[in-house]
């Protein structure tokens, strides 16, 4: 691909992200027979009830790996466009094939340096295998939390 085409592609991608659009997620990979996400910075998903868009801005380690991982998230309420504060978010790591989580079992993020971002971790992915990052977001008012699941294959 020429430099000019690369530049134009980058421009279009940047514009799409700046306008709040989401890029097509990279294809899933297999992990012990189950589907896992391919990690890229900016990986975005909509919560299971459709209320929120959750974007994984960054991961340290990248891609997520065995050991301590710290994630930076942004969560937007789709109806209002409001960015959700860290205290509305809870993150639970989980190994679905093993039926257990990590220690501690749940994490509440803190505000990140980037505007409207939330940082959560370190989360210990202590075994090789499929790890889910279950992001629970509680809307304002007396409404139930909605879940968004990122799944990563940890080689370890």
């Amino acid at each position: 691909m020429s430099d000019v085409r690369l530049f134009l592609l980058g421009l279009v991608s940047s514009a799409a992200l700046a306008c709040g659009g989401t890029t097509e997620p990279p294809p899933a990979v297999k992990c012990g027979g189950a589907a896992a996400d391919t990690y890229v910075a900016g990986l975005a998903k909509t919560s299971e009830g459709g209320k929120f868009d959750v974007t994984l801005l960054d991961s340290v380690l990248a891609p997520p790996d065995r050991g301590e991982n710290t994630f930076t998230l942004k969560v937007r309420e789709n109806a209002s466009g409001t960015m959700m504060a860290p205290d509305a978010i809870e993150v639970r790591p989980w190994m679905p094939q093993h039926g257990h989580g990590s220690t501690p079992p749940s994490f509440v993020p803190v505000a990140g340096t980037e505007a409207n971002s939330s940082v959560v971790g370190p989360i210990n992915f202590f075994m090789p295998g499929l790890w889910e990052l279950r992001v629970l977001v509680t809307p304002a008012g007396d409404q139930p939390a909605e879940r968004t699941v990122f799944a990563f294959c940890v080689e370890g």
Partner: protein, 434 residues
């Protein structure tokens, strides 16, 4: 080896000449091209295995009391034994440093496993370094060969670990059974999505170059620190890093809960434990020497109203996990060669995820404690682990085989995932409940 000389070896760089047999025997020859790996290994219990003063004390006493011969050194100092530098380990003080421990050449020259315990393996002694990389990078230093026994992705690779980590004593008692425990777990089943080899957990990998050689590709570089439970008690390389890795390893082994249920005359405290990540039972290995126990303290203000396990694992009614071992006459055995009977009291590794399978219940252990009224304000609990029990160490000190100052350094670990606090004021049944 002193820190300065170790540093000089690490700085020596990678050789472009074939290593001689003598050089291959010396781990520091490997450090030129594999500095990260040798540095990790240098702090491991594999490097410490024949230097460990507790091992030396037990071996010295075992030679006197049970004429153990090469029983211990065939795993603890296999290269020294093969090279004729020792026959029974009683002269390990005089054995050169490069033959101490389980060295690079020992593991990487293994070409076959012939049994399930007591060092049942063969070392080719042919200068070919075997590893888990399917297409090894060619080097003039040594020949390289792929070996499924060294490939952490194969379940077969567990055999190489199991051959030394399972011990059947000279009198035929299956004393250390970590490999056997893994074989009975979900992790060893080829059809299980949870399958993972010993190396899969104990040798975590990350992207890196296996050798510091120009052109060497980036691979998954396996850690050679082998953290588990035991650690160096005397000055040794990487001692702080090793201790930190052990704490991290132990931090996630168990899943625990602490719940408090009020009743008419007081409250019932329920502690539930599940072995979620050991891959074998917990504790494992020298389970007859290890002590893991629950410490529980209930308070009102500054006053302790109930406690269990605060005086250590030997106190009556303590919830204790270990192998209870006895002699022929039924009395407790402290030295392994005296053991005639083993009664396990440990947390098994998961063998099933089916809650209706009787084996499922065995992996979830609950103990309840009744506390009379008034209800405590705070209840704290934790699982503690002593790698080698005080009574075993005390016995070795009493027989003159172990320095009491070294015995005093044996750590007690608190398993991070089991450190729990329940507060009545939170209004919840269980600690950590949201």
């Amino acid at each position: 080896m002193s820190k300065v000389s170790l540093l000089l070896v690490f700085l020596a760089g990678c050789t472009d000449a074939a290593l001689t047999r003598e050089e291959r025997l010396d781990p520091q020859s490997c450090a030129g091209c594999h500095p990260t790996t040798v540095r990790e290994w240098s702090g491991s219990m594999h490097a410490y295995s024949s230097v460990d003063p507790v091992f030396r004390a037990m071996n010295a006493r075992g030679q006197r009391e049970a004429q153990l011969g090469s029983f211990c050194v065939k795993c603890h100092a296999p290269v020294a034994l093969a090279e004729g530098a020792t026959t029974d380990g009683t002269n390990l003080d005089q054995v050169p440093a490069h033959l101490q421990g389980i060295t690079c050449v020992f593991c990487h020259e293994i070409d076959a496993v012939t049994g399930t315990h007591d060092a049942a393996l063969t070392r080719a002694n042919d200068g070919v370094m075997r590893g888990g990389i399917a297409d090894p990078f060619e080097t003039p230093a040594h020949e390289s060969q792929y070996s499924p026994l060294h490939d952490r992705k194969t379940l077969e690779s567990s055999q190489i670990c199991g051959s030394c980590h399972d011990i059947v004593t000279p009198r035929g008692v299956a004393l250390e059974r970590g490999f056997e425990e893994w074989k009975g777990s979900l992790y060893s089943s080829p059809s299980s999505i949870e399958r993972v080899s010993c190396q899969g957990c104990h040798m975590p990998s990350k992207d890196g170059r296996v050798a510091d050689v120009e052109g060497a590709p980036v691979r998954r570089l396996k850690s050679h620190a082998f953290p588990a439970v035991d650690q160096a008690l005397t000055p040794f390389p990487e001692i702080e890093a090793q201790a930190a890795l052990i704490e991290q390893e132990l931090a996630t082994v168990l899943q625990a809960s602490l719940c408090v249920y009020p009743f008419a005359n007081g409250s019932t405290v329920a502690i539930t434990l599940e072995n979620i990540a050991a891959g074998h039972h917990f504790p494992s290995g020298a389970s007859h020497d290890r002590r893991a126990w629950l410490e529980l303290v209930a308070t009102i203000g500054d006053r302790t109203v109930f406690s269990s396990g605060v005086d250590g694992p030997s106190a009556p009614d303590t919830w204790l996990f270990r192998d209870h071992v006895t002699k022929d006459d039924g009395t407790e055995a402290l030295m392994f060669w005296d053991v005639a009977h083993v009664e396990p009291s440990i947390l098994p590794a998961p063998a099933t995820r089916d809650p209706l399978d009787p084996r499922f219940a065995a992996t979830h252990r609950t103990r309840t404690f009744s506390i009379p009224k008034p209800t405590p304000e705070v209840i704290r609990a934790r699982i503690r682990l002593q790698p080698i029990a005080s009574e075993v160490l005390d016995s070795l000190v009493a027989s003159g085989d172990l320095d009491p100052a070294i015995a005093a350094r044996m750590p007690i670990h608190d398993l991070r995932s089991t450190v729990m606090e329940w507060r009545a004021a939170d209004g919840k049944f269980c600690a950590g409940e949201r």
